[in-house]
């Protein structure tokens, strides 16, 4: 049976992990590769590196980080943040990323999804969608969530699939950082609108939240950052809990 994936996300700035993470097992908690390796050992199913600097100069730092990660890590990983051209994506894939994720650039020019899919294959192209409610209806936000768009989230997800996306990473801005659970309604709405795997993100605050997500929606995977980074929940703990709740996990 296909397993539900648990995906820790690492925020990167200037080649270092952003949040003040403290793990006793790690000598250098700011090194994304060391943290990634720890997550792999603990049973992470995939990883996402999200670069929040993403200026041209910093790209080189990111590429060298990606190639170091690719040598060390033996599970798939996605790299996102500031990718706006096929050339950006190719550099990261050549450095060893398995998938790239695009967000604002795809909204501004959806043909980019098609170009990336043609060059790399759809399975490499994750379309990340930041969603937030405007008068009760989920809309797409871009530029790191700072800018609203007139796009309705579920419509955009359908379009992204038609343009050639291989996977949708859906982050609820209403839930992100709250620890109050995933946004089940929008996750299920998007999951049912597309036939691609959907990764739910934003709001994970306890092991129950993951269980509820997988019971109430068709989502293929759950992504979280803070809950793992700050040691509130460990991956082995979460996997064991989900197994006893009969959620298929690795």
């Amino acid at each position: 049976m296909l397993k539900k994936r648990i995906i820790p996300c690492l925020d990167i700035r200037d080649g270092r992990t952003v949040k003040g993470i403290h793990f006793e097992q790690l000598r250098d908690a700011g090194d994304p590769v060391a943290l990634a390796q720890l997550y792999v050992e603990q049973g992470a199913d995939e990883l996402v590196f999200l670069d929040i600097t993403a200026t041209v100069e910093k790209r080189k730092t990111l590429c060298s980080l990606v190639s170091r990660a690719a040598r060390a890590i033996d599970i798939p990983f996605t790299v996102g943040g500031g990718i706006s051209s096929v050339e950006d994506a190719l550099q990261l894939i050549r450095s060893g990323a398995d998938k790239i994720s695009i967000n604002s650039a795809a909204v501004l020019r959806p043909e980019l999804i098609t170009e990336l899919a043609a060059r790399l294959g759809s399975q490499c192209v994750v379309v990340a969608i930041d969603t937030r409610k405007i008068e009760g209806i989920d809309h797409v936000f871009i530029q790191g969530g700072r800018q609203a768009t007139p796009l309705v989230t579920v419509d955009w997800a359908r379009q992204a699939e038609a343009y050639g996306a291989g996977e949708i990473l859906l982050t609820s801005m209403n839930k992100d950082g709250t620890g109050s659970g995933f946004d089940l309604a929008v996750t299920q709405e998007v999951s049912q609108a597309v036939s691609l795997p959907v990764i739910a993100s934003g709001g994970a605050g306890s092991e129950e939240h993951f269980k509820t997500l997988f019971e109430a929606t068709d989502t293929a995977a759950a992504l979280a950052a803070g809950i793992f980074h700050f040691g509130r929940l460990s991956l082995p703990q979460l996997k064991a809990y989900l197994k006893t709740a009969n959620i298929p996990v690795r």
């Binding site: 049976m1 296909l2 397993k3 798939p76 060893g96 398995d98 294959g121 759809s122």
Partner: protein, 192 residues
């Protein structure tokens, strides 16, 4: 020397990295002489069947590879090209395995992406491997089960997770991305 066949389809880097982690050096090449002389040959692949097959034909590798007598391992698209025929791009393959490659039926989420368990494993590739171990798949086409199937998996229907015929081995999943289990399977191949 281990030859990783370059055929313009996807990422040879992750396979090279996986071999390096196991202490093996590999050469990425499309040169028939080097492939002929290699101790082991790996045909990796993420990509599209018709254009990949076209590239192999241009280099004469579509005839060289099936004639090799050292161990050969196809991965993902590599496995599919070693079959008789693929629906993807209406492509004739190298016919090492007597089976066809079809698209997953409508109604399920495609690609089949993520960790899924093996079942009914047999043969040298899976020595010491937990018989229902999870491995990482990413594919939209599958090889139907046949007499050469040495591991199955289920997604929408049962399909060949691995095939073997004489010195030819192939896996639909990505051992280079399947953590410890994948490393063990690669090691089994490398020590054949």
């Amino acid at each position: 020397m281990i030859a990783i066949v370059h055929y313009n389809a996807g990422n040879t880097r992750s396979v090279t990295n996986a071999l390096e982690r196991l202490g093996y050096e590999a050469r990425v090449t499309d040169d028939p002489a080097q492939i002929q002389q290699a101790e082991k040959v790996i045909l990796p692949g993420v990509g599209e069947a018709a254009s990949a097959m076209h590239y192999l034909k241009e280099k004469g590798l579509d005839r060289l590879l099936p004639a090799l007598d050292q161990p050969v391992l196809g991965i993902c698209l590599g496995l599919q090209l070693m079959c008789r025929y693929s629906e993807e791009g209406d492509t004739s393959g190298m016919a090492i395995f007597n089976t066809e490659v079809k698209r997953f039926p409508p109604g399920g989420r495609v690609p089949h992406m993520g960790w899924n368990n093996l079942r009914q494993v047999s043969g040298a590739l899976f020595a010491g491997i937990d018989p229902d171990a999870d491995v990482y798949f990413v594919h939209s086409y599958y090889a139907a089960c046949c007499a050469h199937t040495v591991a199955r998996s289920d997604y929408l229907l049962p399909f060949s997770a691995a095939l073997q015929h004489n010195n030819f081995y192939a896996v639909q999943f990505h051992p280079e991305k399947s953590a410890g289990t994948g490393a063990e399977i690669l090691k089994n191949f490398l020590t054949l």
